[in-house]
Symmetry: C2
Subunit: 356 residues, 2 copies
């Protein structure tokens, strides 16, 4: 099959969005799309291209005072019977249309049509964002080629519906455990029921009042939720253990250590084990390149509530924002779609910024 990313396609970010959506690229199956993206980038004389797995890096080297990153992931969640793409009025439907091939299209369009940008640009098209963190292409680059990420500012083209979503909240998974003593249910008074004891854990979750935190004008709403519960030995046994899995979403004014301490306070008296966590990212809106970008967008930024890869840039000391045409509420939904107008607006905004 011939590369569908022809010059005719690359020149129009809307047509390019459809073409990218129509190349299936579920996580761990990004080779075809990465090969085609590599091929068209390698044809651009103004770009230096490199690759790590199915992650593609392309950069200008014009000696500008500043370097910025435009980054987008190539993978999608599993297809929900929603490929190939369809167009209904102003909407392109299809797996990945919002999250985030419309964002990838903006970056690939600029990479192939703007040979002389106002800032040097590093374009990153990366693999495996939708699955376990250890596969994440941006994470692998940070480990193996941190020099690819060196920049003054980064824009992650995650779906934000055309507004700037700044920073991101941290996320922490923990197990809260209750214990008891087994007994036959016919003589239950000889035992202590660990599932009944978990009632007190759930009560604390019900009574929990999450914080709302405003930083650089962005308001973060925290949350603490049970995301799993398990217990039980057999139908005739008073159970001696029950576990409640909780997920804390924490504003970026707390670090991971503070978040873990907070969980231990909330569940004081119970065993709490943190099983996974990822730090948030401060909005970083005071950095000059961020202010310049915000001025071009011309709308107030809001807080990013979900965890995104901006935190990986923040961890490297690089201010980073989320900005993309898709609607984040449609991400991963079978009816996922993107508005053509939002793609055109996004392309115009990024062009205004980088062609300046």
């Amino acid at each position: 099959m011939a590369n569908p990313l022809t010059p005719d396609v690359l020149v129009d970010p809307v047509v390019l969005t459809r073409a990218l959506v129509d190349v299936p690229s579920v996580s761990r199956a990004e080779k075809a799309i990465a090969d085609w993206v590599t091929e068209v980038l390698a044809q651009q004389p103004h770009l230096r291209v490199d690759r790590l797995g199915n992650t593609v890096m392309a950069r200008t080297d014009q000696g500008r005072a500043r370097r910025v990153v435009l980054a987008g992931h190539l993978d999608t969640v599993p297809v929900h019977d929603n490929l190939p793409s369809t167009v209904v009025d102003d909407l392109i439907y299809g797996c990945g249309s919002a999250d985030m091939k419309s964002g990838v299209a903006l970056a690939l369009h600029l990479a192939t049509t703007l040979p002389d940008p106002a800032h040097d640009v590093t374009y990153l098209f990366y693999e495996a964002e939708e699955i376990e963190s250890r596969y994440n292409g941006l994470g692998l680059v940070a480990e193996q080629h941190p020099e690819w990420l060196r920049a003054d500012f980064a824009v992650l083209l995650e779906p934000t519906y055309g507004v700037v979503e700044a920073g991101c909240q941290g996320t922490m998974q923990a197990t809260v455990r209750t214990s008891g003593r087994r007994a036959h249910t016919a003589r239950a008074w000889r035992g202590v029921n660990a599932i009944h004891a978990a009632g007190a854990v759930l009560r604390r979750l019900e009574d929990y009042r999450p914080r709302t935190v405003t930083i650089d004008g962005c308001t973060y709403r925290e949350g603490l939720n049970a995301v799993g519960v398990a217990g039980g030995v057999a139908g005739n046994v008073v159970p001696d253990e029950c576990t409640v899995q909780v997920n804390l979403r924490f504003a970026p004014d707390r670090d991971e250590k503070q978040a873990a301490e907070h969980l231990r306070e909330v569940f004081d008296g119970f065993g709490v084990e943190v099983t996974d966590s990822a730090a948030g990212a401060l909005p970083g809106l005071t950095a000059p390149p961020a202010r310049e970008f915000l001025a071009v967008v011309g709308a107030e930024p809001v807080a990013k509530l979900g965890w995104t890869d901006v935190a990986r840039f923040a961890a490297l000391g690089i201010p980073a924002l989320n900005y993309g045409p898709g609607d984040p509420l449609l991400a991963h939904a079978p009816e996922e779609h993107v508005e053509i107008g939002k793609i055109r607006d996004g392309a115009a905004t990024l062009h205004r910024w980088l062609a300046a």
Copy 2:
């Protein structure tokens, strides 16, 4: 291998207990023991023997005014590295020693040594009591040969440590379900957390005060326990469903319908689905053959709290009691054992009753 149940062995219920323990007979592997039991019973001119699977029935037909059943299951729970048997002082250790080969030994000893009992006796040695109800030998007999069970009174030789345990409690499994609305945990306020909602279910279980019911002088302690809890979609999803499995042990003054109504009252406002149940059995101590048996035992009866196969007799209108030498608290334990003194006492009591 020769049949270990020789006349020398059958004549002594203690020696016979050891011999029976030393024939492994985990549920669904009772053929060897059933074959040997069949063989020795078939040699007795005073018995008519029949068989269904690995369940063996033998009966006297002396034209007595009353017929009684002595019943015991041949199977055991899985061996816990506790075979062959060992003897330490007055204790016989080994899988099935208490539950219930010492009881089976009493019945087999009487069947082969008492040719002319005071009541006609139906001996039942049955398979698969320790596993799912559909395999239960007594249940299969009730379905396929109900005439084998026709009697005025039944003694089930389950472990009771030498006291009469009367009737049994019913048992009911039910699922209590809470529901909610899924959402991403980064925007938890858009969802409704079904696991948090299960806190109220667990609270009702914690606050539950079980009844104590006295019938015919036997005191039944009811119980209601969570025996399982499950919920959760993924680590970043507010879950929309949670289920709590509960087990109700109910005194035999309630029938299954009343028990189900009781559960619906306790969990009013939540979905309750009964998934399994077994009726209890009234103690039936006022029936003349039961009173006669109690007089021979000479000790006050107590309530049986666990569910046993006496309920199958009760369902057929036959008064039935539990009476056996083993300690019910040792059933299914790796250190399972039986006191030799209790075997001798039990044999003497049954002999006094049936030789009268």
